[in-house]
């Protein structure tokens, strides 16, 4: 009979190098699933939020209902949101993506709308005076000026989506949340801590990435400041 190995895994320590080296594939898979869930949901949310915000800006009557609906959606707790979508999507990754889309949508619509509303009326009139049509005005004047606010919303939405995706573990598609969930059931400290830390790292890196994109897209904001 061989003695059980006396390493940090056997002792169930919080920080364990051996866990990292032996479970690398599991961790990489979980991070990839996490990234996939988050990126897909934020992209879909952006594609829906942009036209909604433009519509709400153009057509004042639509603004009230759009904002009210997004507030209601945002108030519903994530676990309940995923559960309400269960009859529609079943136990699938689509369910998690759909839930995350609804949350990101709320943040994006609010921020893009705020950005569009903050465009000075004089700027709009100047563009109109120069012969800009409504579409050219939107694409070349209003949207670029709304970009900082929109990007702020995108960053908040992305960070929230990374964090909320863990709850997807309830249907087995939670990326790093799956590892936290199974680690909880088996009392596996190293796995829970590693997955939690990775989750925060992913959120911070995504935020920094978007901050970089924002700086590249809006060079004029730096020019004004300096």
């Amino acid at each position: 009979m061989t003695a059980p190995p006396d390493d940090c895994l056997a002792r169930n320590e919080w920080i364990c190098g051996r866990y990292l080296s032996t479970r690398r594939e599991i961790l990489v898979d979980a991070v990839l699933q996490h990234l996939e869930l988050t990126a897909l949901s934020v992209a879909v949310a952006l594609a829906i939020a942009l036209p909604l915000a433009v519509l709400a800006r153009r057509w004042v009557l639509a603004a009230g209902p759009v904002l009210a609906l997004t507030t209601v959606l945002y108030t519903i707790p994530s676990l309940a949101m995923f559960s309400l979508l269960l009859p529609v999507y079943g136990l699938s990754s689509t369910l998690v993506v759909a839930g995350l889309v609804l949350y990101s949508l709320t943040l994006l619509v609010r921020n893009i709308l705020a950005g569009l509303r903050a465009v000075p009326e004089e700027t709009r009139q100047a563009a109109r005076g120069m012969g800009y049509g409504p579409i050219r005005l939107l694409l070349t004047v209003e949207l670029p000026l709304a970009l900082p606010a929109a990007m702020a919303g995108l960053r908040i939405a992305t960070v929230s989506a990374v964090s909320l995706a863990t709850v997807g573990a309830i249907v087995g598609f939670g990326g790093l949340g799956n590892l936290i969930y199974s680690g909880m059931n088996t009392y596996f400290k190293a796995q829970v801590l590693t997955a939690s830390v990775l989750c925060v790292v992913v959120a911070v890196l995504a935020d920094l990435l978007l901050l970089g994109v924002q700086r590249l897209l809006t060079p004029w904001t730096r020019a004004v400041r300096s």
């Binding site: 507030t71 209601v72 108030t75 519903i76 707790p77 994530s78 676990l79 309940a80 949101m81 559960s83 309400l84 269960l86 009859p87 908040i156 960070v159 929230s160 990374v162 964090s163 909320l164 863990t166 709850v167 573990a169 309830i170 249907v171 949340g177 936290i180 969930y181 680690g183 909880m184 009392y187 400290k189 829970v192 801590l193 997955a195 939690s196 989750c199 925060v200 959120a203 911070v204 935020d207």
Partner: protein, 227 residues
């Protein structure tokens, strides 16, 4: 539609409301958790925010703590706390996690509200000979009240959501109906639990909405009465 009808039937069954683990008990747990943790969080966060805001110090901390709170997954914190010695304490991990996630919005909003008070008004109050505490209670807090209250509202909504996720980590509350439904593979129960949670969250939000409608007049009266 069939699932919704089934969920309705599940909710209408009186056997599901009574007894241990019934809807009544879970509802009470959820309500108690939310209210108790909201009070604790306010007691922790508001004094700190009011003093920092009054002194004009620690702004970076007060504002950035919200961003940090957003990046840390609620579920991860719940499970981490559950695996610490605190986990043996019944609802201990849930209460700590709930307070941790309710503090950032309270702190940030109250601080921003305090700093947003018109500097001219503050200087006028100083010129009238008000002491620091008088300035804080009679000028800054009343004027910052709308933002402080919106922080409380955000915290309350956050508490309801976190208390739901606590069910995943063995905590009590309405979320348990959902997790039990998943364990039984009973979609009607899952949907019924989700509807209960959603309605509860919307009621809390609605309560604050109504309170806010009445707040401006009340806040103005309080200001006149004291000033």
């Amino acid at each position: 539609m069939k699932t919704l009808a089934d969920a309705w039937d599940w909710l209408a069954d009186s056997a599901h409301w009574a007894g241990d683990g019934g809807i009544g008990q879970r509802l009470a747990q959820h309500l108690v958790l939310t209210v108790v943790c909201l009070i604790i969080s306010c007691l922790v966060a508001l004094p700190v925010a009011l003093v920092l805001g009054h002194l004009g110090r620690g702004g970076a901390l007060a504002v950035n703590i919200s961003n940090v709170g957003r990046a840390v997954p609620t579920f991860a914190v719940l499970v981490l706390l559950l695996l610490t010695p605190l986990g043996k304490w019944g609802e201990g991990p849930t209460v700590v996690a709930l307070v941790l996630f309710a503090v950032p919005p309270l702190l940030t909003n109250a601080y921003v509200g305090m700093r947003g008070v018109d500097r001219g008004v503050v200087q006028a109050a100083r010129g009238m000979g008000m002491t620091g505490p008088q300035l804080l209670w009679r000028v800054e807090v009343p004027l910052a009240l709308p933002l402080i209250m919106s922080g409380v509202r955000l915290a309350a909504v956050q508490l309801v959501a976190t208390a739901t996720i606590a069910a995943l980590a063995g905590g009590g509350g309405l979320g348990r109906i959902i997790t039990a439904g998943f364990n039984l593979a009973s979609t009607p129960q899952v949907v019924a639990g989700a509807v209960l949670v959603a309605v509860f969250a919307l009621l809390v939000e609605g309560l604050f909405e109504i309170a806010e409608r009445f707040a401006p007049g009340w806040a103005r009266r309080a200001r006149n009465g004291k000033g």
